[in-house]
């Protein structure tokens, strides 16, 4: 690893100050869990001049219910997501997604923010958060701004973050709290494997008409960034819930995906996976919707 200067931020405002101080005339990198950054820097021909450590920034480690919805601090680790009672209650899909990331050791270090900022198309947090229409809060010297996650990703390993900005929190908007959602990942093995394809499906149910409401599908590893599947969503909107509709939505989603062939899988195989995983994710989300209804959740969209 190339040498660099190291500064540890005490809290998020300290982090922003440190970034502003150094970003003007040096190459700065933030380190959170370090699971992506260090693995990269060990092979990098040119490293950063300055590394700002935010791993001790406690004000970005909270998971709270607010007026806006469910706020997850960017420094929440994958292990914390798996253990959070709030997330377990509202979004078991996020727990499942976190569970598929790396292994215990990497989940203890790796953060949700780091996963999103690294912005590899196969990231496992992406599809569920896209399906849940998450919003991210970005903190910079000039204050905070919010953008939909959809607009946060620019391309492979590229986000809209400026060098002096940090990702502060991820918000799942209030209207989607408890929306039945399911995440599925297909990797070559269970542990320590990146997704060949990962999919999240989410919808509300109109129990009177038995139709899909606000169906949302997130797809990973099939485009330069994590994407939604607009054609499949449009196909499902207002359609009567049935096994055939879910299978057809899977086939339609293939048209939304633009996978490439690489050493992990061929584009053709990835397209096949999109169809199968989308169908299965929809089926499991449907099961979750029914269970929740029986358990007395108000399985309706909160007006």
């Amino acid at each position: 690893m190339k040498s660099f200067e190291f500064f540890a931020a005490k809290d998020s405002s300290d982090a922003v100050t440190l970034l502003a101080q150094h970003a003007a005339n040096a190459k700065v990198k933030i380190i959170a869990g370090g699971t992506d950054l260090l693995a990269d820097l060990k092979f990098a021909a040119h490293g950063p001049d300055v590394v700002v450590d935010i791993s001790h920034v406690d004000d970005l480690k909270n998971i709270t219910l607010t007026e806006q919805g469910l706020n997850i601090g960017a420094l929440v680790t994958h292990t914390q997501i798996m253990r959070s009672p709030l997330i377990r209650q509202f979004f078991p899909a996020l727990v499942d997604a976190a569970h598929t990331i790396g292994a215990v050791q990497t989940r203890n270090l790796g953060t949700l923010g780091g996963n999103l900022v690294t912005a590899v198309p196969s990231m496992d947090s992406g599809p569920t958060l896209m399906a849940l229409e998450a919003i991210v809060t970005i903190a910079g010297n000039g204050g905070r701004r919010q953008v939909p996650l959809n607009e946060f990703f620019v391309g492979p390993r590229k986000t809209i973050l400026k060098p002096d900005e940090l990702l502060a929190e991820i918000i799942i908007p209030k209207q989607n709290l408890g929306k039945p959602t399911h995440f599925l990942k297909f990797g070559l093995r269970k542990g320590q494997a990146l997704a060949l394809v990962n999919v999240a499906a989410s919808f509300w149910v109109d129990w009177e008409k038995n139709v899909f409401l606000a169906p949302r599908i997130g797809l990973g590893a099939v485009a330069p960034k994590v994407i939604r599947a607009p054609q499949a969503e449009a196909y499902l909107e207002g359609r009567t819930i049935s096994a055939e509709a879910m299978a057809e939505a899977g086939r339609v989603a293939v048209g939304d995906a633009k996978p490439i062939s690489d050493f992990r899988a061929s584009a053709e195989y990835r397209r096949h996976l999109v169809a199968v995983l989308t169908k299965r994710a929809l089926e499991s989300a449907w099961t979750l919707a029914q269970t929740r209804r029986l358990e007395g959740w108000n399985g309706q969209r909160n007006a």
Partner: protein, 468 residues
């Protein structure tokens, strides 16, 4: 007469050893380490038992000393510059800037190696490439510095001027006589074996069906959890001590003697506990270069491969391209089989000859085949060298002949178990090289296995019952 081995009877009821009880009467003492050294020629009831190992205690304590856990006073750390090009001519290597770096103590190139070639059979590997690069993982220079970090940074300061050449990457291309030699003027085919029995062409003519299939396997790295490592220490009397993860130290010593041009009596190789070998640590790698760096600096020098170097610059398992042609009767009895194996040998021979031989001998499978023609070639390509790895070619051909058997069974509509029972070796069968086989239990094993996993015939087409 040799003493008969003692056999300890397997007790009917296993007694619970103290250690499995919560309040063990014997204290759980970590030290001193008391190891039960097994008596010679003692046969224990091994199958289904959990045999503890003499070194198990130290392993669990984290006290086993592998090479990277050793340190000698004043030790230097070495790194090797890799070519990163599959085939090239080296025009010039400029090490001046690296040598001038603070913390760098010595730099050597291939020209500093007294005799720059070694290998367990053919002596075709350079310690460090001097005039030619034969694969991307070739080392072109080695740096010894006061820290690993400085040594790594110094590699970037070494400027190598290459004339890039067109590499030979496809083994089937390499097999053609008109393809330029990887090690010209030597031919690309550097090993060849034929096993002939009976008359295959006649057998094909008499067969009801003749099936053909081509099978390929990929290159595989051993991935020992401990990457290759060594420490060399040249002493004032002109002797060198090398601590190495090497599995064959006497063979390694001969190669070190050859490359350094000193008698074997001046070389002491200490084999340490190895963190996994699997065939990938059966020949020297950086030992001569480290010995020379130590000689040049008068200090001990350590070199540990990165995980990437373990993939690019150590041996791997041969990829094989295997053509099979088999003539059978309607019932599935094999009358004749013709096989061609092409082994991708990569840039250097290493243990290719052993692999070639074993792959060829085993390529017909454990089946009685009266008429056989098996031919195997190993060729050079500009890729990571292939060498020994568990089975020396046996796993590759097994994949081919068993897949081929399944294909034949499927085409004939026969149970894949049935076709194997029809053809498998019996007690006293002759191997393809006419060795009389004893203790043959192929059929018994197949039947038992089939029973164990509930084999239900041809298979139900949904993934159950595929393969034997």
């Amino acid at each position: 007469m040799a003493e008969k081995p003692k056999v300890i009877e397997k007790p009917d009821v296993l007694e619970r050893p103290d250690i499995l009880k919560p309040q063990a009467p014997a204290p759980l003492v970590a030290f001193p380490i008391e190891v039960v050294v097994p008596e010679g020629r003692q046969q224990t009831p091994a199958v289904g038992q959990r045999a503890s190992r003499a070194d198990g205690r130290l392993h669990g304590l984290g006290q086993t000393k592998y090479i990277d856990d050793m340190y000698f006073p004043n030790m230097l750390f070495a790194k090797i510059k890799r070519a990163g090009i599959a085939s090239a001519r080296i025009k010039n290597i400029d090490t001046k800037e690296a040598e001038a770096m603070p913390g760098v103590v010595a730099v050597i190139t291939g020209r500093d190696i007294p005799c720059n070639s070694f290998g367990p059979s053919l002596k075709d590997q350079p310690v460090l490439a001097d005039t030619r690069v034969f694969h991307a993982g070739d080392g072109v220079a080695a740096v010894a510095a006061v820290s690993e970090q400085i040594a790594t940074e110094a590699l970037e300061k070494i400027k190598v001027d290459y004339e890039v050449l067109t590499p030979v990457l496809d083994p089937l291309e390499s097999l053609k006589l008109e393809t330029p030699g990887v090690h010209a003027p030597s031919a690309n085919i550097y090993g060849h074996k034929v096993i002939k029995k009976g008359d295959v062409e006649k057998a094909f003519a008499e067969s009801d069906h003749v099936f053909e299939g081509t099978f390929r396997t990929q290159m595989v790295e051993h991935v020992p959890l401990e990457p290759y490592a060594c420490i060399a220490q040249w002493d004032a009397n002109g002797r060198v001590t090398i601590y190495s993860t090497l599995g064959r130290i006497t063979l390694g010593r001969a190669d070190v003697a050859r490359t350094l041009g000193i008698p074997m009596s001046r070389i002491r190789i200490v084999a340490t506990v190895v963190g996994g070998n699997f065939g990938g640590k059966n020949e020297i790698r950086a030992e001569p270069a480290m010995a020379l760096l130590s000689k040049k600096t008068g200090r001990p020098v350590k070199c540990v491969f990165t995980r990437s170097e373990e993939f690019t610059s150590s041996t791997t398992r041969h990829p094989l391209i295997m053509d099979y042609k088999t003539g059978v009767t309607k019932q599935g009895k094999i009358l004749g089989r013709k096989i061609r194996l092409v082994l991708d040998g990569g840039a250097y021979c290493s243990w290719s000859e052993t692999t070639l031989g074993k792959a060829c001998i085993l390529s017909a499978g454990p089946y009685n085949i009266e008429n056989l023609y098996a031919e195997a070639f190993v060729v050079y390509t500009n890729k990571t060298m292939t060498g020994a790895m568990r089975g020396f070619g046996a796993p590759q051909v097994c994949f081919a002949y068993e897949s081929h058997m399944d294909d034949i069974a499927k085409a004939l509509g026969i149970d894949p178990l049935e076709i194997r029972l029809l053809n498998a070796f019996d007690e006293g069968s002759l191997s393809p090289t006419s060795q009389k086989l004893h203790s043959v239990v192929v059929k018994e094993s197949l039947l038992r296995a089939a029973k164990r996993f509930g084999w239900n015939g041809i298979g139900d087409g949904v993934g159950n019952g595929n393969g034997a």
